[in-house]
């Protein structure tokens, strides 16, 4: 696309102003996280010195390292669980012919119309019956099956020629070998997209961990933030913001690295 210089300058101007607006709250939180109490009350934007005191304080007041580790374990488990469960289901929908396929496909679609919040009450009871309060399996297992993930992978699997499947069967390759050796490797991009999406959404999950963690043993960072916020609120905003920055760094990094991939993958999965 060719455009004139005035037009270019105009677009750059809009880009800079609007993106600065969007990113401002994060930058602001970052600045606050280095400030002392008096500096914050004076309403400064730049901290006087780059002191990490707030960061050391937040780690000493809250078992933040423990929470970070919990969030990491939970997010990676859900990510791997979703990849396994969704890719198995997507394979069945694409490569296997069986009775009731349309019906089961419809069942998968219907799960997308049931909001998670509408089912949370009995789910909490189920977790209680299983005695899974404050356990990793209670935090992760309910999220392994995901209709959206199954559809995303199904779209990619559909691009693999059916002849390849037939040929591999004639060559005596078992279905699982075909799945493992052919289907998964050629679908790497979709798997990465789904993996990043699963990690991101799980890391940021709030309501479910709030409901089923009652102590710090498996509590995640998001609930840690709520705790921090309600403890420190009146006095030390710098410490609270240091906590915020620590919590958002892993997902921001993941997003910065995988932005392109995520955007391509999600919009494809959304459409076809």
């Amino acid at each position: 696309m060719k455009m004139g210089l005035p037009q270019k300058i105009w677009i750059y101007f809009l880009l800079i102003v609007t993106s600065a607006f969007v990113f401002f709250p994060v930058l602001y939180a970052f600045m606050i996280s280095f400030m002392t109490g008096p500096e914050i009350i004076q309403g400064k934007f730049f901290p006087e010195s780059l002191s990490f005191e707030n960061y050391s304080k937040v780690f000493s007041r809250l078992p933040l390292l423990n929470y970070l580790l919990n969030s990491f374990i939970v997010s990676v488990s859900v990510m791997l669980g979703q990849l396994v469960v969704c890719s198995l289901a997507a394979y069945a929908f694409v490569f296997l012919k069986f009775k009731g396929r349309d019906f089961i496909f419809f069942l998968f679609i219907s799960t997308m119309m049931i909001p998670w919040e509408a089912t949370m009450i009995p789910n909490v009871f189920t977790i209680r019956k299983l005695d899974w309060f404050n356990t990793y399996q209670g935090l992760t297992l309910p999220f392994f099956a995901l209709a959206f993930g199954t559809f995303l992978l199904r779209q990619h699997f559909l691009t693999i020629p059916k002849e390849l499947h037939e040929a591999s069967q004639i060559a005596g390759l078992s279905r699982f070998r075909f799945f493992w050796r052919v289907v998964l490797p050629v679908s790497k991009t979709s798997l990465v997209t789904l993996g990043a999406y699963g990690f991101l959404t799980t890391w940021n999950m709030y309501l479910w961990p709030l409901l089923i963690t009652t102590n710090k043993s498996v509590r995640t960072v998001q609930i840690g933030l709520k705790q921090l916020q309600s403890q420190e609120i009146a006095t030390e905003w710098g410490v609270v913001m240091a906590g915020v920055i620590v919590v958002i760094i892993p997902t921001l990094l993941l997003l910065f690295i995988g932005q392109k991939q995520l955007q391509k993958g999600l919009s494809q999965g959304a459409l076809k």
């Binding site: 880009l15 994060v26 905003w237 959304a270």
Partner: protein, 300 residues
Amino acid sequence: MTRPSTMTMWRKTVDGRTAALYLLPSIILFSVFVFYPMFRTIYLSFFLTDQTGNAAIMVGFENFVYLLGSSEFQNSMKATGLFVLYTVPITIVLALFFALLANEKLKGIGFFRTMYSSTMGISVAASSVIWLFMFNPSIGMFNRLLGVLSLPQIQWLLDPEWALLSVSISTIWMNIGFSFLILLGGLQNIDEHLYESSRIDGAGYFYRLRRITLPMLSPTLFFIITISLINAFQTFGQIDILTKGGPSQSTNLIVYSIYREAFINYQFGTASAQAVILFLIILIVTILQFKLGERKVHYQ
């Protein structure tokens, strides 16, 4: 005679058996954590429950009658409706504007794309804490700004007139990243050749936007509108951190109301009835979107 036929039968159904095996994890998990609790919620909505959530007394539609008559629930529905109205259109218009800007092929455009999508990487809890600070009446940024402009101060989250609006502003910001990413993806899927042929005719930017870009983007727009609507009805985290449903219940959105009714008041029957209403709303939104979408959307 029988052996070969059973053999072929066995072989013919091998796909079916393999499929059952591959689908089993999904089916079990969906049954336990989606379908069973959905039916259980509907069941519980017809009962009064004890403290542990067991159905105690069957009351028929009494819970629903009670809810529809209670000013608290009416208020919660009104707040939810307003919240959807405040957040969804503005988020999508802003995200579309940013996506159109970020779709230009310019030097350093990758940097701007990262900035716009950044809010997707920030959790609801973290965003809410940041906004809680910015809304702070004495040391927050917004009131300082008003002070500089010598305008009257606003009690953002504490004033029943302003609280829902304040929560909406922060929610728009939280949701921009995801909508932007999806819309940018949609824009990049549009075939370049369409523009080339129109440029020969000397068509201007806004003419191209109206006649090519928006029609070609309509499936993506349709998708993001549906998702945003559903998400808005499911809002919880920012309410819990910013306002706890207050002041005077002006931000008591439906999911927060369900949460409070169930896990603070232990009224699982009426909470379930609210959950059923939430389910019905989302069902209607989805069906409406599909009905409208079929007619209006231009598919490639």
